[in-house]
């Protein structure tokens, strides 16, 4: 199931890299600004796709960005250097076993991480231990069940469900966005505020048609083709028709909708 996990990362990478990245990055990041001198933990930085924006938006905050993959952390470090970012300390580490003392951070930031974890509430509880009282946690997740489109297609929905099922089998949850409120509540956070960030794409927005509908979302679903066929959860004809139908939503008459969820909560 490594493939499904890797493809989970595609969403994160592509959002940063596509033509309309600035629109999508703004949609997710524009209201995350940390005060100068504050210590911020980015848990699960991957190859640094979010780190670069995060650290650039709060140039006087001091970031520690960790990821379980040494390889990803090295890539993230290089990406930050290339972007002239100097306020991030990158370290390899496992969210469930981090080498920090209680209350080490003023704020914590996670983006596209909980979706991959079998025990997201436990992760949020553990992270709470590293937060100072009054500190905030910010969580951003997608939700594949929020995807709908015109023309509608049962095949397209089933192709998306393949990605959801593969992610489930690897212990994750591709529909976790809608759950941020109950997850944070279960983990004991307070003053939880969730705001959905909907991406609406029609042909009057060609950058998003190309950058989001086609190259990010549909490409991500297309990317699980071999794994889904090997797992026997779809057949070639149905899956390929689903992908064709997803590309149809990027044509002149098509519409594509997807929603990211962003939550901010406080440690009492």
């Amino acid at each position: 199931m490594k493939d499904a996990y890797v493809h989970g990362y595609d969403l994160r990478e592509n959002i940063r890299l596509q033509d309309q990245a600035s629109t999508l990055v703004d949609l997710l990041h524009s209201d995350t600004l940390y005060p100068g001198g504050s210590r911020v933990l980015e848990a699960g930085c991957g190859v640094g796709a979010q780190t670069v924006t995060l650290a650039a938006n709060s140039p006087d905050a001091i970031f520690t960005s960790i990821d379980i993959s040494e390889e990803s952390v090295n890539a993230a470090r290089r990406a930050a250097e290339a972007a002239g970012i100097s306020n991030v300390d990158f370290r390899q580490g496992d969210i469930f076993h981090l080498p920090f003392g209680p209350g080490s951070f003023d704020h914590i930031f996670l983006c596209f991480v909980l979706e991959h974890l079998p025990r997201p509430v436990e992760a949020l509880e553990i992270l709470k231990g590293y937060l100072k009282g009054g500190g905030t946690i910010t969580v951003i997740e997608g939700d594949h069940g929020s995807a709908y489109f015109y023309p509608d297609s049962e095949f397209a929905r089933r192709a998306i469900d393949c990605q959801v099922e593969l992610q489930r089998r690897s212990g994750g949850n591709a529909n976790i966005g809608r759950e941020l409120y109950p997850l944070l509540k279960s983990a004991g956070y307070e003053d939880i505020r969730v705001s959905p960030r909907m991406v609406y794409v029609d042909s009057s927005r060609p950058g998003l048609v190309e950058g989001f509908t086609k190259k990010t979302f549909t490409a991500m679903i297309e990317g699980v083709r071999e794994t889904a066929l090997a797992a026997g959860i779809t057949d070639q004809g149905a899956f390929d028709r689903g992908i064709r139908d997803l590309y149809r939503t990027a044509e002149a008459e098509g519409v594509f909708c997807y929603t990211f969820f962003k939550a901010v909560a406080v440690k009492a």
Copy 2:
């Protein structure tokens, strides 16, 4: 199928009438303001649930509000009088056969109307004839396929699908919100701008839990129970479990999401 049609109206009425009505009304109406002296046609005013807000927000515009039902028009007239609204001329009329000359109006407004029409593009084309060149049309519609929730439930989704199927059988389309862009394009409008208006409800927003999740959306689905059973498109056990599961999304750990679509387009 009269029932399904009537229940289609429930959404419209309830949005106006529930506790959190002001939030929802703002969500849909706040950016619709017509200049003083402009002539505006509200096509399909029903019992005036939107008319009162529409006319109050643009007190110096001159409204003509029509509905195919004489009874509804009379109720709308009384509602406007009760609200102290005096800038609306109410008339019975069929969108497909209105007694106005070409270019009679500066602007047209429709809310929760296209979802009931078997030929929405034709309606939009006919309405375009009543618009002056450079005039705008504003269209607001819901989309039941935009509803998703936590805890997720196959039964809840199937109960919602009953309403969608009944509305389809009566010639309408409960998932029309996502289609506003292609519909307006097909009808020959230009400069089409669609903006989704997502309603996100968790237990930190008790007014919306009560006013939207329970008393508006779930009550509307619950309202098609007898019609759906009589039509044989569900069975009692499955439907009732779906309704119970929808109410569960209104409990402390629950989340409910729904999106309205608002489009503004121009007659060239």
